[in-house]
Symmetry: C2
Subunit: 327 residues, 2 copies
């Protein structure tokens, strides 16, 4: 295992210390590294709280700030955070307007956020994201997995919360954005969890895993590596077929951590052409490594169908460590 | 070779097409993919022009926009762009106030930008960046290599140009920022140039290349992989020793393309602690993969000593594909 680390036991806490130091203008780290929160809260605003296993950075802590999340709870690598983390975060960021939990659809995360909701004695709603069209049930899920589309839900709902929408409205909006969003991924290499010290899965030197999950879970099938155009064709067909409509959309090409920008933009071009063939016009673009799987090489494609409301919230100002515009 | 590409011959042009499509609000692609330029020019402003071999994305095209570059000329992977590219870019962005070329110190780049300067019949000054403290002469250089510190020069000089500084002032400022900036890198794996189809260098499964260049050039030595703290200690000592001063600084931890955010923030924390021991206080941070070496795993550390002028220009608004704040 080749990683820039000191000790597998302290990867998460040292990385969080670095994150909090680098972005001290934006965020504060909770006691015992339980959560990352906005430095300055906005009283009367519904607080948005997310979290999940580490290893997907910048998701979620990189999206804490104006126009997105109020707090994020990081678990150990690929492990759900615990209810006491969410309760501590809720205590820190709830200004009385209630809390919206945004949770990726994995059994551990859903269970722990549910427990926190029951135990925290606050007004809480939950949006569960399940945008991955690759498979129905998976290693850690009942139903579809929540993957890179979670970023879109956090951005859109975050903008609406900033403008003063109430909890019920935000919950409905979050569910609507999730339904308008589909993703699919492909892996060229496995990721390596620090504590495991070896690749999560074996993959041949000329193979790819089509439909991979963001923890290296199996996808649809293992096949020889294809061209970028062929990969984009299959992924966009699965996404567009599942969305079932035409119109304007956000096209988001997401790197898994080990794939450089040059390839991601090439994939964007390949996906853009395919999407147009399905009658979907990409009117906004996002290209970069935002929802990663440690050092896995590969990428995912996410499409969110836009209506005026979703587009307006997507374009609204955001000021976080990993997404920043309009401010 | 595992890459998300179609054909090794068209990697660059397809990636540029994707880049231009994704950022059509910011940039325009020149004919025959010769350059990427700002969509809207600012008449009367000195035009900043950079470029170099592809494979270092987002450098340089990702830094075209308000507050940074006016144009960037991409060569083939790890190959200098040609004088006709620079001349076409100069024609496209010179509004009469002159041009500043920002060139990384590699023999091919320096020669080609020099030829373009002589041939274009315009008022041109050149800033050459050579911030890499690892080695003196290298595979493609006389003198030190220009690496991630180039981003800092482009940002600071770009801000001054936006505020109306003249060519002579910008040239002097660029040279001053370059002198205030030092970098050093470490590789855990080789990069793979698409046209070569195999890793640029062999490296053992437990080794690292200390002082590596951004094309995979040899560094100071090949040694067993060390802890993040030990790596940061050596790199920061080399940087701080060469800078030879104390004070406030920018600390920039740059990923080479195959290293995820989680490790980069851990390295930031390690470097931050070391820097403080040398009497240098990081007052600004940048953490991410900005000056890459295709898919190489590893990172570099860059330190720029800040005075009020440099700090002010660093903080000034920037709106490019890869760096964006204050707008």
């Amino acid at each position: 295992m080749k990683k820039l680390i000191n000790d597998v036991a302290t990867v998460l806490t040292e990385s969080l210390d670095g994150f909090a130091a680098a972005h001290a203008d934006l965020v504060t780290l909770g006691a015992e590294h339980k959560f990352v929160r906005r430095k300055v809260l906005k009283p009367g605003k519904v607080a948005l709280l997310s979290g999940g296993g580490a290893g997907h950075e910048p998701l979620h802590a990189g999206f804490v700030g104006h126009g997105m999340l109020d707090a994020a709870c990081p678990g150990q690598v690929f492990t759900s955070p615990t209810p006491d983390q969410m309760m501590a975060a809720a205590d820190a960021v709830d200004t009385g307007a209630g809390l919206l939990f945004i949770v990726k659809n994995y059994e551990g995360d859903v269970m722990n956020f549910d427990m926190a909701r029951e135990m925290c004695g606050r007004d809480v709603a939950t949006v569960i994201t399940d945008d991955d069209v690759a498979v129905e049930n998976s290693l850690y899920t009942t139903g579809r997995r929540g993957v890179a589309g979670t970023l879109v839900v956090e951005k859109v709902v975050g903008a609406a919360a900033e403008r003063g929408a109430d909890l019920k409205t935000l919950k409905a909006l979050g569910d609507r954005v999730n339904k308008a969003t589909r993703s699919m991924g492909v892996a060229l290499t496995s990721c390596t969890v620090p504590a495991a010290g070896k690749p999560t899965f074996d993959i041949g030197p000329a193979d790819m895993e089509m439909g991979v999950g963001i923890h290296g879970e199996p996808g649809r099938r293992r096949v020889p590596l294809q061209s970028a155009d062929a990969i984009a064709e299959e992924m966009v067909a699965a996404i567009a077929g599942d969305l079932g409509g035409k119109g304007n959309a956000l096209l988001f090409v997401n790197g898994f951590g080990g794939t450089p920008s040059m390839e991601l933009y090439l994939m964007y071009e390949a996906a853009r052409k395919q999407l147009t063939r399905h009658g979907i016009t990409p009117v906004r673009a996002l290209v970069g490594s935002y929802v990663t799987s440690l050092d896995m090489a590969g990428c995912s494609i996410t499409v969110t169908m836009f209506d005026d409301e979703i587009a307006q919230h997507w374009d609204a100002p955001v000021h976080t460590a990993a997404l920043r515009w309009g401010l």
